[in-house]
């Protein structure tokens, strides 16, 4: 039995699950997040069944009064066993393992991702009394470390065979080969912007909420 029942402080609007929604989850004296309706990349199902490790990094920040009170990073790894045809799922929060499950079926994994919940991330007491708070989440699927991007960038520069820009020696009209594909450009755009790089990322914010003085069932 859970100690406290799930309490959504903001009523879930009766909207279709088309738009992603982030709602706070209060359990006991803790605050977590619940994400629903996330527009996962179209390739997600294939990625999950790839037999390779899929890593979802979720940065969750608690804000109040334009000030970040706390931040936690959850890492969810999902790996498909080609022979057992089941998934292994692990969740760590700030590098501490919080959940390890194996032999998950595909519908179970899909249901987990459709209603992604990370409970008990922050203490409710972190929020100043009588002040509203918001939760902000940033998700990255299979992020790429900067060191690796540095190495790949170097490789691309060394092996680049695209024709340089218009050489215009005799004519204004020159042609070369086209640039790289959109996903690659997107990754390096993030990298150049100093952000963590990933082919897919999403950001969500909750509506402002207040914690009740006593958590209810």
């Amino acid at each position: 039995m859970r100690r406290g029942a799930l309490l959504f402080l903001l009523a879930l609007a009766a909207k279709p699950a088309a738009a992603a929604e982030l709602t706070p989850v209060v359990r006991g004296h803790t605050i977590g997040v619940h994400c629903a309706g996330i527009a996962w990349p179209a390739t997600l199902t294939k990625d999950l069944m790839s037999g390779l490790t899929n890593t979802l990094v979720i940065h969750v920040a608690l804000w109040s009064d334009s000030r970040r009170l706390d931040q936690k990073t959850a890492v969810i790894t999902i790996k498909y066993d080609l022979w057992e045809e089941t998934f292994a799922l692990t969740i760590t929060v700030d590098k501490a393992a919080t959940l390890t499950r194996s032999a998950e079926t595909q519908p179970e994994i899909e249901a987990f991702l459709a209603n992604l919940e990370l409970p008990e991330l922050f203490a409710a007491t972190e929020i100043p009394k009588d002040k509203p708070a918001t939760l902000r989440v940033e998700m990255l699927l299979n992020p790429i470390e900067r060191e690796r991007l540095e190495a790949i960038k170097k490789w691309v520069l060394e092996n680049n065979t695209s024709i340089p820009a218009d050489t215009s020696g005799f004519s204004d009209k020159r042609v070369g080969t086209s640039g790289s594909n959109a996903v690659f450009n997107k990754i390096f755009e993030q990298y150049a912007g100093g952000a963590e790089a990933a082919a897919w990322r999403a950001s969500l914010s909750s509506k402002p909420f207040r914690t009740p003085p006593v958590a209810q069932q």
């Binding site: 065979t161 340089p164 070369g176």
Partner: protein, 427 residues
């Protein structure tokens, strides 16, 4: 406390090896005694020995072994070419890190619209086939441009089309055909045709450092200016340039041009007000050198970076530069000098002003016109200088260009613009 821990799993080791092993050894320094040391040392040795047979359970290495590497979706690209970007061979331990690296390497190529790598079962448990699935990019690329211009008292229409095919004849070379027509609508005449057929090889002598560009160009234009000045050109030339990439984004070129047909007549009043005619420009052949760079992130829709193209011959010099800054995810601002420098793939089709500041705003994907992948609208106020056109008067042109550019599914890149200007005659 000092802890040694290792976990290893193997499915494909020799029979005498452990099929699935978990080896752990702990040495508590507080309880070090001679016997314990010996046991610990033996455990450590055993663990080290086992770890040579079992792969450490780090994310980079798994117990899976590569049985084969296969390609999928490659209709025109050889699998050996694709496999060359994955540094894993049959018999190697699977490295997820290397797979991610290979995916990035392959994604950097213009050959593929998307790259996905996944595993499938091999002939036995623990043996996997690495499948590289690609969606090949369209090798034929089109660009259409249509613009209406009201400049220097002339009103005229420009229509231009370009078709280019990459990896022609199985090489990495690109063939490009560009045809442009200018039709007068009103005022001093402004008409002509321009066409260029070009071959570009990105790897000369099998070297990634050198490239080659050769082409044939035909131009027949008649452009009239205020005060009775005009420029009438009828030329057909062939050219060949060899370039070398230097540093990260730069290159140098050297080339030779031969004009097989060269009839060019320019007439202007000059400072005295009397007409002078120049029908022998003395540039029928010659060498040229060039220097440039391209650090823009996208040839058609740049959001940051810069491009420079410059060339210098015996009787001409050309410098073009553009820099783009991102204001926010939806808008950019750019500064351009000397006209739009050529891009990595397309010819420089833009109609330009000598100096302009541009603002571009993103237009999102839509289903209009058979599908728009991306687009932007833009405004470019600018200025051009035409020098001493007559009676010693310096002619300046202040212009405004507005337009839209779309990357469409049906027609390729489509550019529609209008440009208008007003002139100022200085003393």
């Amino acid at each position: 406390m000092m802890t040694f821990a290792s976990k290893c799993h193997s499915f494909t080791r020799p029979p005498w090896a452990v099929r699935a092993c978990v080896c752990q050894a702990r040495v508590d320094q507080r309880s070090i005694r001679a016997g314990v040391c010996t046991v610990a040392a033996m455990l450590l040795f055993a663990m080290t020995a086992l770890s040579t047979f079992c792969h450490a359970a780090s994310p980079e290495h798994s117990s899976l072994v590569v049985e084969d590497v296969r390609c999928k979706g490659n209709a025109l690209t050889r699998c050996t070419f694709i496999r060359g970007f994955l540094h894993l061979s049959p018999g190697d331990a699977l490295s997820e890190e290397e797979i991610q690296n290979a995916q990035l390497r392959l994604s950097s190529l213009p050959d593929f619209a998307s790259v996905q790598i996944y595993l499938s079962k091999g002939s036995a448990k623990g043996r996997v086939v690495v499948v590289i699935e690609v969606v090949e990019a369209d090798r034929i690329e089109n660009q259409i441009l249509a613009g209406t211009s009201s400049r220097l008292s002339s009103l005229y229409q420009t229509v231009e089309g370009r078709v280019a095919e990459r990896d022609i004849f199985g090489s990495q070379g690109t063939v490009n055909l560009d045809v442009e027509g200018i039709a007068p609508i009103d005022g001093p005449t402004h008409h002509g045709v321009y066409t260029r057929l070009q071959f570009a090889s990105p790897t000369l002598f099998d070297s990634n450092k050198y490239f080659l560009i050769s082409g044939a160009t035909y131009q027949n234009t008649m452009i009239a200016y205020p005060y009775g000045a005009y420029d009438n050109t009828d030329q057909f030339d062939i050219d060949l340039s060899v370039g070398r990439r230097i540093f990260d984004y730069s290159y140098v070129t050297m080339g030779y041009l031969e004009r097989l047909v060269s009839q060019s007549i320019s007439q202007s009043r000059g400072t005295s007000g009397l007409f002078s005619t120049n029908s022998n420009p003395n540039n029928n052949k010659g060498w040229a050198i060039g220097y440039g760079w391209n650090s823009e992130d996208d040839p058609y829709f740049p959001t940051h970076g810069s491009r420079l193209s410059s060339s210098f011959g015996a009787s001409w010099a050309s410098v073009r530069f553009r820099k783009t800054w991102s204001l926010d995810p939806d808008s950019t601002v750019s500064m351009q000098l000397g006209g739009t420098p050529g891009t990595q793939y397309r010819a420089s089709l833009d109609e330009n002003q000598d100096f302009s500041i541009g603002y571009q705003h993103r237009i999102g994907p839509s289903d209009h016109f058979g599908g728009i992948n991306r687009g932007r609208w833009y405004v470019e106020p600018g200025v051009s200088y035409y020098g001493d056109i007559a009676y010693g008067k310096q002619l300046w042109e202040w212009g405004l260009k507005v337009g839209v550019r779309f990357d469409t599914k049906l027609f390729g890149v489509v550019d529609l613009y209008a440009i208008g200007s007003t002139t100022e005659h200085g003393k």
